[in-house]
């Protein structure tokens, strides 16, 4: 029996490495892209954990590692107490019903040959949830729920705008009555005036169905608005994890501080006065991450120890940081 006190999802030392091989067919392994290199976090029931970082930091791969697509290289993914990395694919398939995803690109994530009805009904069919006319009834109900006219069920994805397609993607995610939804950059492909519509919709649905979200995004203002707690990732690792106000008001990790100071504010007066930390260089390759702290090549504060030893993540009354220099 699931214990309602334990977190809905607990990820322990998750690693997802992609093998690089050389030679045709039976190529031998010559290296690995360490996309996710040991991350741990928990998501409590009903909360939203934001996962933020720049492109290539491993935030999306973390999401994919949770749903076991691909199977992680090592680590545990405990969903409702069950380790998804240990169960067989049939059990996994049945468990995935509770774990759904909303993708970034509403153009690429809907099959252009299927009608809206087929798209949204698919999870119900796969998981054998509804039969016959009940399926159509439920599709209509879901469309209504996400703010679309239920009469559109016979249409195809190309007949919709980006914002409407994202609503269809959300309806599909809800079709199997999941408890946990991974939202991977759900608004970054949308126009500014549409983004707020989708943010508000996701929030309303969370309240209505007591959903738990992992919200993956690169936009720090959106993540702050949406999440209860936030994890900041850099080059395959979590560098800082704290609740919203702690992270944004008193960021401890030098990377988080630089990231926050790089976000432009829509306020000309404050922009002129702001001190901006401009990081030098770029994110190193995850094939050969730097020795020691992954951030040491760009960190304005790096000391000798940062080049020698990888910092452990340490807890300061609920505010976790992986930095040698934080006391």
């Amino acid at each position: 029996m699931p214990d309602s006190n334990q977190p809905l999802l607990a990820v322990e030392d998750l690693k997802v490495h992609f093998r690089i091989s050389k030679g045709f067919l039976f190529g031998k392994k010559v290296g690995a892209v360490r996309a996710v290199d040991g991350v741990s976090f928990a998501v409590e029931r009903g909360e939203t954990l934001g996962l933020v970082g720049e492109s290539g930091c491993g935030k999306s791969t973390t999401g994919l590692g949770i749903i076991q697509m691909p199977r992680p290289t090592s680590g545990k993914v405990l969903f409702d107490g069950v380790d998804l990395t240990q169960i067989d694919s049939e059990t996994l398939r049945r468990t995935r019903r509770h774990l759904q995803m909303v993708f970034q690109d509403p153009y690429a994530s809907l099959n252009p040959r299927l009608t809206v009805e087929k798209i949204i009904a698919e999870p119900m069919v796969v998981h054998d949830l509804e039969q016959g006319s009940a399926v159509r009834e439920r599709v209509r109900e879901l469309l209504h729920l996400v703010g679309l006219d239920p009469r559109v069920i016979t249409r195809y994805p190309h007949e919709f705008s980006g914002g409407q397609r994202q609503r269809i993607g959300i309806a599909r995610a809800l079709a199997a009555n999941p408890s946990f939804i991974i939202c991977d950059e759900p608004i970054s492909a949308l126009d500014v005036s549409i983004q707020a519509q989708i943010i508000n919709l996701l929030k309303d649905l969370q309240e209505q169905f007591n959903l738990t979200y992992l919200f993956i995004a690169h936009d720090l203002a959106v993540v702050r608005h949406f999440s209860d707690r936030i994890a900041v990732m850099y080059l395959g690792r979590i560098v800082e994890l704290a609740n919203r106000s702690d992270l944004y008001d008193t960021p401890k990790h030098p990377y988080t501080r630089a990231l926050l100071s790089a976000v432009p504010l829509p306020d000309p007066k404050r922009e002129r006065q702001r001190e901006r930390i401009i990081l030098k260089g770029e994110v190193p390759s995850p094939i050969r991450p730097p020795k020691g702290c992954h951030f040491n090549t760009r960190c304005p504060l790096a000391k000798t120890i940062c080049f020698e030893e990888a910092p452990e993540i340490r807890d300061f009354s609920g505010h976790q940081v992986a930095c040698h220099l934080v006391q």
């Binding site: 720049e54 707020a196 519509q197 508000n200 432009p264 829509p266 000309p268 702001r274 990081l279």
Partner: protein, 338 residues
Amino acid sequence: MGEPLLRVEGLRTIFQTSKQVVTAVSGISYSVDAGETVGIVGESGSGKSVSMLAVMRLVPSPAGRITEGRIWFQGRNLLDLNPAEMRAVRGKDIAMIFQDPMTSLNPVLSIGKHLVEPLKLHLGLTTTQAKTRAVELLQMVGIPDAANRLNDYPHQFSGGMRQRVMIALGLSCNPKLLIADEPTTALDVTIQAQIIDLVKRLRREFGMSVIWITHDLGIVAGLVDRVIVMYASHVVETASVDDLYEDPRHPYTLGLLSAIPRLDAAERTRLTPIPGKPPDLSNPPKGCPFAPRCGFSTADCLSEKPTLREVAPGHFSMCHLELSKQAFISLREVRVNA
């Protein structure tokens, strides 16, 4: 104040297919002074990029056509120039950098070839002189080991580095006007900060005017002197950057500002989205283009298109209701409570 560097008057650009005519830019006017940085803000399809392609005379033809208007640049109407004269302006006096540096650089030409060509063509440098200058330009935009990277191809550079190459290319002939079309949209936020910092520094050094096209109201706040807001092929508001953010006079601008989550907001408040979606430009609404989505529209707004009027000194808005931000907000509260 003398004649502005760039003055666009009544510019209209259409795209015609066998089935329909789409008005991408409907009779817009604005000007850019020498040394001024202007931000053009709008969503996809608002006409912001097409209006700049028109200035460069690069509107894709035969589908796209400039049907009306004049584009005055240094005393000449660019629309009167023949192709050879226009080529002499393009890249030399007016340079443009694009959103995606991968598709705007030629993948089979080295970075050196990209940089040397305009220097020889526009400035008449010899190959050796041009190469020396190319290395200087790459150093100026912060490309490490510039001399050795001249022979590298675009795919050997990261996204941020490619955008730096694009900027070096844009600045190679000391343009008077640099048009930047969403140059940081494809980049990460820390790299975006580097590029914005670079453009700010180079703008000072070169004393050029910059037009920065973006959908991000945050970027322009710290970068530009004046903002032009475009919606559905129209300029709906233009003002100095301080006035625009402090006292937006067009409901669309106000809507955009309340629809984005802000890092500097005190607490989480529910966002106020703009309902609906932008109009179909092949069949635009008869009255104000924003009226179908506007929370304040009246019968007038739906039947008659407003003109861009000066609502405060230097502050123009295309709205029948000449209200202040405060008036809009109280009006909105009244509606919500009712």
